[in-house]
Symmetry: C2
Subunit: 278 residues, 2 copies
Amino acid sequence: MKFIDQLKNRWAAADSMLCVGLDPNPERFPEPVRGKSDATYEFCRRIVDATAEYVCAFKPQFAYFAALRELGALERIVGYIHEKHPGIPVILDSKRGDIGSTARAYAKESFEVYGADAVTLSPYMGFDTVEPYLEYEDRGVFILCRTSNPGGRDIEMLQAGERKVFEHVAAFAAGPWNTNGEMGVVVGATFPEELGVVRVIAPSIPFLVPGIGAQGGDINAAVRAGLSSDGWGMVINSSRAVIYAGIGPDFDLAAARAAQKTRDAIREAKAATLSAHP
Amino acid sequence: MKFIDQLKNRWAAADSMLCVGLDPNPERFPEPVRGKSDATYEFCRRIVDATAEYVCAFKPQFAYFAALRELGALERIVGYIHEKHPGIPVILDSKRGDIGSTARAYAKESFEVYGADAVTLSPYMGFDTVEPYLEYEDRGVFILCRTSNPGGRDIEMLQAGERKVFEHVAAFAAGPWNTNGEMGVVVGATFPEELGVVRVIAPSIPFLVPGIGAQGGDINAAVRAGLSSDGWGMVINSSRAVIYAGIGPDFDLAAARAAQKTRDAIREAKAATLSAHP
């Protein structure tokens, strides 16, 4: 099944646009897994099981696993999600950006080694960066567009002709680059105004939206700006605020409650938006 | 020792601005290592030993090792270079681009797990992307600026005010972003005119220059455009044209000859440039 169809099915089946990010950091591991052998995998596995019913996707962050020399755990947790929670897409957040044979190697890494359903990519080097990923017809890509960090302004906000750089990227991703209909963009929740600008340029593609929770983005403003015309269109990520919600023996229950609460807040924001603009 | 000093010392000691890229691809492995256990590491080790005397740096490409599930071999080959060929800096080409705690995890991965002396980074998300790497005071970063691929024009060549996007990046890397004096840029040999533009904006920082050899860039034009005022300033990469120069039992000798020839061509281009503009 195509990634985009898998995502649409899951939005509807779970009635959720929440994505839980897997950012394993041993310094923040809760007591029951801290210091245990295989702690990285076990932590992620328990978070996945506890939060699966509330999510439309999981997003493991490559960097955390890599810095811990735990890429084996990354491969296993993606496999675990596919096996135990089929229908929930996995977005590997690695923000790759390279070209030609190197990009092909990265696509192979993402989709064949780790088994991800979609990846994040940097657009800086242009369409050549994206093309090898499109050859995997059932997988998706999210192109960095307007990111949630302050430094996002350095390049993304440069005015280039009638459009800012991030608007050019949105237009590429909604148009000429999106040859297989599996492309989305990354747009931070911390800049709802620009989120709305991207939605105008790209009316129907999915948005991966970081920046709520620990980064302080407002769910209501983000949903109001980013909802697509069919009432979906957003994969709203929360990592730390969910996965480190508890540090005791019931850390997984705390994560489940945080995920449920965030999912509900997104639902309510969506209902409010749709009732204001039916 | 600071990366930039290590690089300057090596330029002078080896009288070379050639960098050999380590892009292990089992389909192209020569007969003596093909199909052997530990082939990836053994291939790289023999290439390193054969070409070390001709190079100012080695540049392993993360993607190839990752796609082969051979990140252990990457770690070992970097350690091997440091142990057997001290003084030759290792530039890990991974083109990371993320922020905050994720960027710190990538910096840790690059510098602590793999032991690289410098890395390549994408500037799309802005200064936050770069900052965590600068905390490692003795390590270097090369920021993607004007890359050697056709799609480089999609974003890099957008006109933003008086400068194109890649010129903005060059100005950041030569100025406000370069807080520790350890920053360089990636500028492809395939666009010598833009290489010269970047040299005007950034007169003294090192350039990592892909695109000669298999990608067809002209060494003479690149050196003429990119040499810094002290007669160095370039790390000119060749990967496939060197490492796959031979496929038989003497593949390492073939690689050595290709490296020597390329180093000599760079030397001659430099001498011609300096004699034309003494």
